[in-house]
Assembly symmetry: C2
Homo-oligomer: 274 residues x 2
């Protein structure tokens, strides 16, 4: 490689957070497709001894199913390496004694098996995809309208992502719809919430200033990470669009072709041995 | 009647604008149901010689079907007495040479029969009800994302309305969802747009200060009318909720039990003979 040390690697990297969808693989029919070079990049990063965690807002299935799917695609990762909003939602629900209506994907219902759901007084909004229909949106709306203290627990606030080669709506727009319909407080549990990234950094066990987040979402991944003092690097795979480079407020610390290039640069230029 | 002259009748009334859904009738299975006293109230207002127009954002069917439905319920009104956003949208589309993707109710497609719809570059959002599903929302999203000058033509921005006795989401929330998903300009053609009320007042042919708008929606009907110098009176039927009386910025000029009471007060206290 003839590249010189990029600016985003001037400070030592002691931990890496990797987004999953759009970085490791693109979702779609069946298992979806691994992004070329990503399987090997994950392998190399983990082998180098740098702690790696996987930070996702993907909630179209349970965490177990997601890990199993990624394993089948060839990725080496385990359940406890995945930092995902569903367990954070369950913890929040239990702590605040809430009873959620689950506007989530049918495949993800298992994440909430031991939560009380009768006489709902809050709404959990995950990536419900086809479940974002008029009937379910009305159910969620009425739960919020009738609750004394209406709360939306947002598993993410993404605008869109790539599925089967097409951009499709994420859960953010549907949360905005419910917010407009009734006065309601939204608690964001997934990216870009500060609490989410703080939790991920804690799992890595290194200071935030020595962590790099690699993602395809400028707002959820890069902006969220940066607001916690983590460097945010955007890959040009997944939902990346040229317009991201002109964003008014969020400037990525770095931009790379794909995860393979990010891993290559980290392994080549990072001076820390852990 | 022992009531004294209400404040909202201090100034002469020379024209009346009536909302339809929630004032004349409640929508629902079949034809829906006339609100008690409304058929007679419309009759009496029209017989008194005061010009009356019907101002609706209802776009679940063509205007012809709406008028036919109301006639069957017993209301005396004709097509040219109805001021509705669909013809305004068609005029806008033609003037700006747009090609819309129609996120509208299947029963309302007829309103756009002579509009070019191939290679869509804008989105019309009406009260699409069941058509607000994930697939159609994604289609609308992608039309906007791929358009050089993305525009949403909003047939209304209502938050919710009453259907078959239940509150259900109106088109406003779904417009907010699309706005959040992509940077887009929304042109509101229905209530509460100033242009909409200006058009209605023009049809009445009297000064705005002598017009009263009677509706169940505090924002769309009352607030919209007031921003054009029209008095806005809220009925306590349809989507009215007690919370409306505590709204931070919009204060109704008057509030009445229902259209029957509004008509009774107008006929009893209005001093103008036309």
């Amino acid at each position: 490689m003839l590249q010189s040390k990029p600016g985003w690697l001037q400070k030592a990297v002691k931990g890496v957070l990797l987004d999953i969808t759009g970085v490791l693989y693109n979702s779609g029919q069946g298992l979806g497709q691994a992004i070329p070079g990503s399987i090997n990049a994950v392998e190399r990063l983990k082998s180098s001894g740098i702690p790696v965690k996987f930070c996702t807002n993907e909630t179209q299935c349970t965490r177990e199913k997601l890990v199993s799917k990624l394993n089948k695609l060839g990725f080496s990762l385990t359940l406890n390496e995945v930092h995902s909003p569903a367990p954070l939602a369950v913890a929040y629900i239990k702590e605040h004694k809430l009873r959620p209506y689950l506007l989530v994907h049918t495949e993800a219902l298992g994440d909430y098996a031991d939560v009380e759901k009768s006489e709902s007084n809050c709404v959990v909004v995950g990536d419900a995809a086809e479940e974002f229909n008029y009937e379910n949106m009305n159910r969620a709306f009425r739960v919020l309208l009738e609750s004394d203290n209406p709360i939306i627990l947002a598993l993410g606030t993404g605008r869109y992502y790539k599925d089967s080669g097409e951009l499709v709506l994420d859960n953010g727009p549907f949360i905005k719809a419910l917010e407009y319909a009734c006065d309601v407080k939204t608690v964001v549990l997934g990216k870009p919430a500060t609490s989410y990234f703080d939790g991920a950094v804690k799992k890595l066990g290194v200071p935030a200033e020595n962590v790099i987040m690699i993602g395809d979402d400028l707002i959820g991944d890069v902006g969220g990470a940066q607001s916690c003092g983590i460097r945010g690097v955007q890959v040009k795979t997944g939902k990346y669009r040229l317009q991201d480079e002109q964003h008014e407020t969020i400037k990525a610390d770095g931009r790379v072709k794909d995860l393979a290039e990010a891993a290559e640069l980290i392994l080549q230029f990072n001076t820390v041995t852990t």
